[in-house]
Amino acid sequence: MSRLPLSGVRVTDFSWIGAGAYMTKLLADLGADVIKIESSAKLDALRVSPPFKDRVKGVNRSGYFSDRNTSKRSMTVNVKNEQGLSLVKRLVAISDIVANNFAPGIMDKLGLGYEQLKAINPRIIHIGMSMHGAAGPEADSIGYGLTIGAVSGLQFLCGLPGREPVGSGTNYPDHVPNPCHGAFAVLAALRHQRRTGIGQNIDMAQTEPMIALLAPAMIDCAVNTRDAPQAGNRAPGRAPRGVFRCAGEDHWIAISIGDDAQWRSLCEEVGLAGREQWASAAGRLADQDAIEEALAPLVARRDTFELMEALQARGVPAGVMQTAADVMERDPQLAHRSHWRKLPHPEMGDAVHNAQPFKFSRVSVGPLSAAPCLGQHTEEICRSLLGLSTEEIAGLVQAGVLT
């Protein structure tokens, strides 16, 4: 196989749980050698988070963890031990990138802050992905995806008018905004490093990429001095635009009309005799309540997948609200793209993992392997990268350094 785009890039990875681990997964799936530094004394919390294979808890049995850590290697080492720390520093010396999503100050306390890393390797790129950034009055606050959603405005902005906010229903910032922004920043810094030989420190506050993705509401508030009301599923310029209940238990379809032709096709398909003023976009935008009310009973008697096919055949933007079961077992497009990858894993068998949402023509990017078992590559890394002998490794294991 051809070289992957990030072949030859090495990452010493202290990141864990959500956003950090998902960021370095992107690098690993694109070909970087990502060495996950772990400790059996203080486990990555996702290792012990459900769901588990056969509902049996174990450090190598979490599907959540495995999906977030594909293509990486795992090394267990006690960095609070002097020998352990010196091994990690030797890895830093031969790495391009050091990543973490700890609270500010933790890496410095371990002896692995940016200035210390730079003294070992001036080409090193360090990224710290703390909740609020490295400094400032709230820098010492702790947070997770959901609380980042709350302080960034995401939670507030999602919901139906007049109802309590609902957010995305997930730790959204952990899954898309932060991993992708972090990976992009690191790769841009890598370009600078390759051109100039100079590394650098990257400080990414996990609130900020999320706020960037809410820019229209933020700018609207700043220039028009208002907090825009929650809009539910409606959007300016498209009407009707909503999610309608179909026949059966909790079956729904999203329909979004962008022009008059799509509107006429929708009316024909569901048998709606629309009012005259609904023929134009302006007329529809002005009368959305009545349109939604007229559509609801006509859609409610239809099967959701059958209606989607019929509307798409007429060129109407419509999509079933698919559940996790639907996207995994029913969706022909995701199947065509081989989105779900069964990767062999010693304790989990053939567990299902996400492929990346991009395909390259010349090379086949990852996931290349399931997540590593805890400490799976400790010996291999010590031998091949750090040049330790079997006896030395055994001694370090005995001394509790490599655990």
């Binding site: 769901p51 959901l146 898309v176 905004p177 992009f184 419509a318 999509g319 996207v327 949402p357």
Partner: protein, 404 residues
């Protein structure tokens, strides 16, 4: 360091951005770190210029807020790719470009003779990224979709909204954002690969698949435990973690943390020390059992106790008190709260950017990351329609442009 003189991480990189709404954030990420990004607009300008909200609610393409944000640092050139002359201009630009980003339907660019293969003939190092709703091929590749339809088909819509009620889309065209973001990471990696090895690549991004990446652990829950996650809208995920009303709005607390009981122990101590009536029962061992804390009974009881306390306090008071106890509780902030945040002010996160329509600088979200040596920076506001035509054509006429 003098910021204005600092080197740019992506200087010398030439990007042609033909995108509409699904891809303009991708181009912005490159432009704001110093790449030369030319936004190729259709005659009359990008449709994104007509997207709301507008400055002072003036429905004028010059006043559109999303366009002004998504296109900072880019230059504008209008080309009608249906015309041979304009196609030749585009090909000449592509012959010296590092990256093309486009969001046309599958096959459209190839039919115009502007697909990756045609362009890579003249420029083997070219990376060409196509962002489409469903990818280039497959049974649904030609389906119609907007952001909402993609959130539905990507599964995220099934997790958002009120329990038992209507699913509610995540705000802010997040399907398009996800498509742009994954495209940016893949493109950047491919550009690095091309700079190291000389050969570019074609990257096929599916926005639907990018949305699937946001399903958290829902797919794995189905795979391993055959449990289909649904909408919890405002309700607790497990007893102790969720959104609760307070005196002036809502707070979101993760009293359960991720896996260790530490936040729960702290929460129980907090409520007891505050003398909340009935809080003593939270010390019973069943409040640590996975099945019990997932039950409706447990959630209802916790909410009853917590709300007794939270309704007496503001979100700010609750945040301060929880922070002192190291409990991850956050105020549910409106945009006005975010704009007033002392932390973001300290970091000078929001930046002023000149706006021709407003005839003043307007406030925008700034650097999403701080690269110490090669800072993020806005050098110019989003361009006017076709604003840079003459300088771009002049550069093309010159034999070759020196690396900045």
């Amino acid at each position: 360091m003098n910021r204005a003189a600092a080197p740019r991480a992506l200087s010398g990189l030439r990007v042609l951005d033909l995108s509409g709404a699904p891809g303009q954030y991708c181009g912005k990420l490159f432009a704001d770190l110093g790449a030369d990004v030319i936004l190729i607009e259709p005659p009359g300008g990008s449709p994104v210029r007509r997207e709301a909200p507008f400055i002072a609610d003036r429905e004028d393409p010059e006043a559109g807020i999303p366009f002004a944000y998504l296109n900072t640092n880019k230059r504008s050139l209008c080309l009608d790719l249906e015309r041979g002359k304009d196609r030749r201009v585009f090909k000449s630009l592509a012959a010296r470009a590092d990256l093309v980003i486009e969001t046309q339907r599958p096959g459209v660019m190839a039919k115009l003779g502007l697909g990756w293969e045609a362009l890579a003939d003249r420029r083997p190092s070219l990376v060409y990224t196509s962002i489409t709703p469903f990818g280039q091929t497959g049974p649904c590749a030609h389906w119609e979709a907007d952001d909402l339809v993609l959130l539905a088909l990507g599964g995220l819509l099934s997790l958002g909204g009120y329990a038992g009620g209507e699913p509610v889309a995540v705000y802010g065209q997040q399907a398009y954002a996800a498509g742009s973001l994954f495209a940016a990471v893949a493109s950047m990696a491919a550009v690095l690969g091309a700079e190291a090895g000389g050969r570019g690549d074609f990257i096929d991004v599916s926005i639907q698949e990018a949305v699937v990446m946001a399903l958290e652990n829902a797919a794995q829950f189905y795979d391993l435990e055959k449990v289909v996650r649904g909408r919890t809208g405002g309700r607790q995920s497990v007893a102790g973690s969720g959104q609760f009303p307070c005196k002036d709005g809502f707070v979101y607390t993760l009293g359960r943390g991720i896996s260790s009981p530490q936040f729960w122990v702290s929460t129980v101590r907090w409520l007891n020390e505050e003398g909340v009536e009935g809080a003593a029962e939270l010390q019973e061992p069943r409040w640590l059992e996975r099945d019990f804390i997932a039950s409706e009974v447990a959630k209802a009881r916790f909410a009853e106790l917590f709300v007794r306390f939270s309704m007496l306090h503001t979100k700010e008071e609750l945040y301060r008190a929880a922070k002192a106890r190291r409990i991850p509780l956050a105020p549910v902030c409106a945009p006005s709260d975010v704009l007033a945040s002392p932390q973001l002010r300290y970091r000078e996160f929001f930046v002023p950017v000149w706006n021709d329509f407003a005839k003043r600088a307007i406030t925008m979200p700034g650097a999403p990351y701080r690269l110490q040596e090669t800072p993020w920076r806005i050098d110019r506001p989003a361009p006017g329609v076709d604003q840079h035509r003459s300088e771009i054509l002049e550069e093309l006429a010159a034999p070759s442009r020196p690396e900045p």
